[in-house]
Amino acid sequence: MANEELIYRITRAVYGRLGAQADERTVENLVTDIYRAIEPVVEGNNGDAGGDGAGRRDGKRGLTAHGGEAEGSSDRLIVSVFGVDNPGIVAGVAQILAESGCSIADINQTVVQGKFAMVIIADSTNSNAPVATLKERFRAAGDKLGVRIYAQREDLFNAMHRI
C-alpha cells in the first residue's frame, strides 16, 4: 500500500525544484524512483503521516491518472500562422522549431487570395527552450515576416473541440 501523503510531498518537492517546465513523465518517473528507494524505510515506521485529505488525493492522481491519457498532449504545441503571403514564412517558423529542439508532427499550409495560413503540430518533448522563450522567438519572427504566429498547447484544442 503506497503512502500517498509521502508521494504527494515528493511530487510537490520535485515540481518545486524543476518549475513549470517539468515534464510530467519525468516527474512521474522521478517520484516513482525516489519512492521505491525509500519504501523499505517508510514501511518500517508505518505510522499515519497526517496532513490534509486534499493532498493525499492529488498525490495518488500524480502516479496513476497522469501521463497515460490520450486526450491531447501537454507536450505538443499547435503553432498557427496567419498573414499576408511572402517567401520564407515556412522556413522561418521551421527554423525556430528546429533550433528549439521541437520536431514537426504534422503540418498544413494554404494560401488563399494572397492570405497565408499554416498550422503546425510540434512535439516539444525534447525541447530545450521553455514555452515562453519559444513564444518570444515566434513574436519576433512574426514581426519580421509580417505574420501573426500563435503557439498554444495541444490539450487546449482537444479540450475545446472534442467531447
Binding site: 504527494y8 511530487t11 510537490r12 515540481y15 518545486g16 518549475g19 513549470a20 490534509d52 485529505g53 486534499a54 493532498g55 488525493r57 492529488d58 498525490g59 492522481r61 500524480g62 497522469h66 501537454s74 499547435i78 498557427s80 496567419f82 504534422d106 498544413n108 494554404t110 495560413a117 498550422v119 503540430i121 514555452v131 515562453a132 513564444k135 501573426r148 500563435y150 503557439a151 498554444q152 498547447r153 490539450d155 487546449l156 484544442f157 479540450a159 475545446m160 473541440h161
Partner: protein, 455 residues
C-alpha cells in the same frame, strides 16, 4: 491533421481577438486552524498560512496562461469567512488587526483581491460577529485588496431584517470613509442571499465551512466570444437556434477553463474545486453581457423583452457548461455589473436601463444588483430596502442574489464615478425615493418561504 483548420482558427480567434479568458483562478483556503485565543496570534497564523499556501499561485498560473495561450485576468484568494476565525476579537480594533494582516499577506503573494472578510448572519450574529460587522467599513477603507461579504438571508432561514438594516448603515459608513474615491470601499462589499461556498468571483468569494483544506476554483468568462457569435448569426435566426449556438460555445469556454484550473491545481499540489461558468463582462468594448442581449434584437439593454433574452442566455450558458464539466459550481450564470460593462453604462446613461429593470433581470440570472452607483444622498434605510427586495427574490426563488451598491458621496444622478481597473466606471442611477424607513425600522425577521403551492 487531427484538428480542422476551422477548429484551430476558432480557438485562436477566441483567445486572441474575442477576449476569451479565464477571469479568475481563485485559491480557496481554509483558515479554521488559525483561530486562537488572542487576535494577534490568529493574525500571524493567518498571514503565515496565506503566504505559505499561495506563494507560487501567481507565478504558476502565469506560466500555464502562457503555455496555453489563454489569458488569466486575475489571480485571487478566498478564505474561510473571517468572522469564524476572529474568535479572539474583542473590539473593532482587534478585527482591523486581522484585516490588515490578511491584506498584507494578499499583497505579499501578489494576488489582486482576497475575498472572505465575511460573516454569515442569516439567523443572527454572535458577540464576535457583532464586533466584526462593525469593523467592515473601516477594514475596507483602510485596505487595498480585501473584499467583504455578509450573508443575510437563505431560503431555509428567511431574511434577517436586522442584518439587512445594519448592512444598509454599514454601506453608508463605508462610502463616507472613502468619500474622496467615490465610495470605493462599497465596491469591495457585497450582501448575499443564499451565498455559495465555492464562488471564485469577487467581491463575494469566500471559502465555505463545508470546503476542504485548499482548492483551486476557476471562473471562466467569455461574453466577447458569445457576443461575436450572436452578432454574426443571421438576424432572423430563431431563438432556439441561438440558444443552441450559445450552448456549444459555452461548452468550449468551460472546457478551456477547466483545463487551466486542473493544471494549476496539479502544479500547486492542491485539489481542483469547481469551475464557475458565469459570463462576466469587462469594461472592454465587445466584452459585454449587455451587448449580447442587444444582439438578440434590442436597441438597448433594458428594453422590454431583455429579461426573457437574459433568461435564455443564462440557461444556455449553464446547459453547455454542465455538458462540458462535472465540476460546475459557484454562481454559474451571467453577471450584470453595471460599472464593468460598457454597453450597460451606455444603456443606463440614456435611460434605457433602470434599477427596477436590473432587479427584474436578477430573477433570471446570477447574481444581483451589481456595481450600481446611486446618489450619495440615498438614505441607509432606502439602501436596506433595496437589499431586502433583492434578498426576497433570492430566497423565494431558491437562488443566490446579491447587492453591491455604492451610494457615491456628493454625487447626483447622471454623474460618473470612476473606480479604476476592472471595477470600471459607474453612472449614478436614479433611486425611487418614496419613503420606506418605517418598514426597515421594524426589524425582525422575514420567515422562510413555503415550498409548495408555488405560483
Amino acid at each position: 491533421m487531427e484538428y480542422s483548420q476551422a477548429e484551430i482558427l476558432q480557438t485562436v480567434r477566441m483567445t486572441e481577438m474575442e477576449h476569451l479568458d479565464v477571469r479568475t483562478v481563485t485559491l480557496g483556503l481554509s483558515l479554521r486552524d488559525c483561530a486562537g485565543d488572542s487576535i494577534e496570534r490568529t493574525a500571524e497564523r493567518v498571514r503565515a498560512k496565506i503566504e505559505r499556501t499561495a506563494e507560487r499561485l501567481v507565478q504558476t498560473v502565469d506560466e500555464i496562461s502562457s503555455e496555453l495561450g489563454i489569458s488569466v485576468a486575475n489571480k485571487r484568494i478566498s478564505i474561510t469567512p473571517a468572522a469564524h476565525v476572529a474568535t479572539g476579537a474583542r473590539s473593532v480594533a482587534d478585527c482591523l488587526k486581522l484585516a490588515r494582516a490578511i491584506d498584507e499577506a494578499a499583497t505579499h503573494v501578489g494576488v489582486d483581491f482576497l475575498g472572505g472578510y465575511s460573516a454569515l448572519v442569516q439567523k443572527g450574529w454572535t458577540n464576535v460577529e457583532d464586533v466584526f460587522l462593525a469593523s467592515i467599513p473601516e477594514a475596507l477603507a483602510t485596505t487595498k485588496r480585501l473584499c467583504s461579504s455578509v450573508n443575510v438571508a437563505t431560503t431555509r432561514a428567511g431574511i434577517n431584517m436586522d442584518a439587512v438594516a445594519r448592512v444598509g448603515r454599514l454601506i453608508k459608513e463605508a462610502a463616507e470613509l472613502t468619500r474622496a474615491e467615490g465610495g470605493l470601499a462599497c465596491a469591495k462589499f457585497v450582501c448575499f442571499a443564499n451565498a455559495v461556498e465555492d464562488n471564485p468571483f469577487m467581491a463575494g468569494a469566500f471559502h465555505g465551512v463545508g470546503e476542504g483544506e485548499a482548492v483551486i476554483n476557476v471562473g471562466v468568462s467569455g461574453p466577447g466570444v458569445v457576443n461575436h457569435a450572436v452578432r454574426h448569426a443571421p438576424r432572423d435566426m430563431p431563438l432556439h437556434e441561438l440558444a443552441e449556438l450559445i450552448k456549444k460555445l459555452s461548452f468550449k469556454l468551460a472546457r478551456a477553463g477547466e483545463l487551466v484550473g486542473r493544471e494549476a491545481a496539479r502544479r500547486l499540489g492542491l485539489r481542483f474545486g469547481i469551475i464557475d461558468l458565469s459570463l462576466a463582462p469587462t469594461p472592454l468594448r465587445g466584452d459585454s453581457v449587455a451587448e449580447i442581449i442587444e444582439a438578440f434584437g434590442f436597441e438597448r439593454a433594458g428594453a422590454p423583452g431583455t429579461t426573457a433574452a437574459l433568461a435564455l442566455l443564462t440557461d444556455a450558458v449553464k446547459k453547455g457548461g454542465v455538458m462540458a464539466s462535472s465540476a460546475v459550481g459557484g454562481m454559474s450564470g451571467a453577471f450584470i455589473p453595471v460599472s464593468e460593462d460598457a454597453a450597460m453604462i451606455d444603456a443606463a446613461r440614456v435611460g434605457a436601463l433602470s434599477l427596477e429593470k436590473l432587479e427584474a433581470w436578477t430573477s433570471v440570472c446570477s447574481v444581483g444588483l451589481d456595481m450600481i452607483a446611486v446618489p450619495g444622498a440615498t438614505s441607509a434605510e432606502t439602501i436596506a430596502a433595496i437589499i431586502a427586495d433583492e434578498m426576497a427574490i433570492g430566497v423565494t426563488n431558491s437562488k443566490t442574489t446579491a447587492v453591491r451598491i455604492i451610494p457615491a458621496p456628493g454625487r447626483v444622478v447622471g454623474d460618473m464615478v470612476e473606480f479604476g481597473g476592472l471595477l470600471g466606471t459607474a453612472p449614478v442611477m436614479a433611486v425611487n425615493n418614496f419613503n420606506c424607513a418605517d418598514f426597515i425600522r421594524r426589524g425582525g425577521h422575514i420567515p422562510a418561504p413555503i415550498h409548495s403551492l408555488r405560483n
